[in-house]
């Protein structure tokens, strides 16, 4: 809920409380339930209802797109880490821990076949995929990467 919508809702609620209190005083004062409420209380109540409704609608949680393609597209735009089918390509159950490969060089296969394309990423992926577990650990320690917090 944004600040604006909170403010609007709060203001509407104050109005509504005020209207309720006025109506209460009115009935006590005249001690007569059949007497109609004064117009200003009625108007105040109605205005309060409209304002609170606007505040609540503005403050409602954001809706999520229900189409698969929008949802999946958002996941890919976020880097693909939340992809529920990532496991089918990573296959943790079949993980070869001693000689693991870098993220399956997805495009590498296709790139290989395209002659005349000199692509750094293919070489990069291939060199890393040949690295053994221990070698990688040593290499990484040497790099002294700043920890992401």
């Amino acid at each position: 809920m944004s600040f604006l919508s909170k403010l609007v809702t709060l203001f509407g609620l104050i109005l509504l409380t005020h209207a309720g209190y006025s109506a209460h005083e009115h009935t006590i004062l005249f001690n007569n339930t059949r007497l109609a409420l004064p117009h200003d209380i009625i108007v105040e109540t109605l205005v309060a209802v409209v304002i609170v409704s606007i505040g609540l609608v503005l403050g409602a949680e954001k809706l999520k797109p229900i189409s698969w393609r929008d949802w999946a597209g958002q996941i890919e735009r976020d880097g693909g880490a939340r992809n529920p089918y990532l496991g089918l390509e990573e296959r943790y159950g079949f993980w070869d821990i001693r000689n693991w490969t870098y993220r399956e060089p997805v495009l590498a296969v296709a790139l290989w076949l395209c002659s005349g394309v000199s692509c750094i990423c293919v070489e990069h992926a291939l060199t890393i995929s040949q690295a053994k577990r221990q070698e990688f650990a040593d290499w990484m320690r040497g790099q002294d990467l700043p920890a992401k917090q």
Binding site: L16, A19, G20, A23, H24, T27, T33, L37, I41, I42, T45, L46, A48, V49, V50, V52, S53, I54, L56, V57, L58, A60, E61, K62, L63, K64, P65, I66, S67, W68, R69, D70, W71
Partner: protein, 154 residues
């Protein structure tokens, strides 16, 4: 038996159940909150019997209208069809049909000037206006607020 239009729609353009649930939850929580609020004001106004219910329906229409406006504005014109599955649970607007050769052809609604490229669900506006427990939980919330305040004030 040939698959129905709804089945084909879901096959070609699946729904995300999580998102559908989330949207329904948002909608019903909005409706129950506002219904309780409408109940409070109906109590303050000392409305009775049919007038009270008429007030409730007017108020709900107001809230749904506001919600629909906000929704169209936020989704840059796609409308309710992008967020709610609609009365036929996911059937898309436009024509989807399987030909004799087993090839499925799909034509989206062709008002391309305004909403070309969006996949919209048929009858989704009904979810916004009548869904979210307007006639069940929200109504009981309304009655609770109505009688409660009416009893205290008078």
């Amino acid at each position: 038996m040939a698959p129905t239009k709804q089945e084909l729609s879901l096959l070609i353009n699946p729904l995300v159940p999580e998102a559908v649930q989330h949207n329904n939850r948002v909608l019903s929580s909005l409706h129950s909150l506002t219904a309780f609020l409408l109940g409070l004001s109906a109590g303050i106004l000392a409305l009775q019997s049919a007038t009270g219910f008429a007030f409730y329906f007017l108020g709900t229409v107001l809230v749904s209208g506001l919600f629909h406006l906000a929704l169209i504005q936020r989704s840059s014109g796609a409308g309710a069809g992008a967020f709610f599955p609609g009365s036929n649970a996911g059937e898309i607007e436009g024509s989807v049909a399987m030909g004799k050769d087993g090839v499925v052809r799909m034509d989206l609604v062709d008002s391309s000037k305004k909403r070309g490229g969006f996949v919209l669900r048929k009858g989704a506006w009904r979810d916004v206006w009548f869904g979210g427990g307007v006639l069940s939980e929200a109504l009981s919330g309304f009655v609770l607020g109505w009688t409660g305040v009416g009893g205290v004030l008078r």
